[in-house]
Symmetry: C2
Subunit: 109 residues, 2 copies
DNA sequence: TCCACTACTTAGCGCTACTATGTACTAGTA
DNA sequence: TACTAGTACATAGTAGCGCTAAGTAGTGGA
């Protein structure tokens, strides 16, 4: 992963995962796969699991353990009310930053 | 500063400062003021100076010391070739992330 | 004398992504 | 049987960056 991308993901990766979770619960391995499919090819597995532990401890998701046919049991995460609120705030923060940056990019040319 | 914004600024603040520096050299105090004017009202002074030390050590900027009528001498930073290259890469990284996020935002609604 | 503004510096902290490694279960295959 | 690959989760240690807090230094005005 590039140095820049690594730093830029700080703060945004959590929002990305919360966004992935809206409406459709998912488990860690699945989320990692989803992220890779979205172009985040170099996200480390460990990063995702650590993030999931974090958002669970913050109370942003509900967790349910379900057996898998193909390996150890899955931990399925679903966004709860507090998670939705956090996601809302994330989009607000993102919008602000995004607007400032687009403004800067135009100015600079 | 909000927790989310603090984390999101990691990686982007450097790009923002490099962008501010394109074409028009500036010194630390001035950059802090510029940022506040752009809406980043809560950026800590120390954060900016530490960032400037970093980009200088990375060789992204040239520095010139100039006397001030109103206080200690100013350290004026100007973007050099390497800084321009870094800024280019920053915009690439930003574009990727920005596109992924806008895509996610639309999908979610 | 005191305060406000200008201008820069730095030690220590918290948070987050990464690296690396490990455990555990299933199914296919040599 | 033993090995491999794929599925699935966990975690200790590291590095980078923004923040807090506190400091130094110079000018000018109340």
């Amino acid at each position: 992963m590039g140095r820049q991308m690594t730093e830029m993901l700080k703060g945004t990766l959590e929002g990305i995962v919360l966004a992935l979770l809206t409406g459709k619960p998912a488990y860690g391995y699945e989320i990692t796969t989803l992220l890779r499919g979205q172009g985040f090819t170099e996200i480390a597995e460990g990063t995702v699991y650590a993030l999931l532990v974090r958002i669970e401890q913050k109370g942003l998701v509900d967790v349910e353990k379900r057996p898998s046919e193909k390996g150890p049991p899955r931990k399925v995460y679903s966004l709860n009310k507090q998670g939705e609120k956090e996601l809302d705030e994330f989009w607000n923060t993102w919008s602000f930053l995004s607007e400032r940056l687009e403004h800067l990019r135009k100015e600079g040319k």
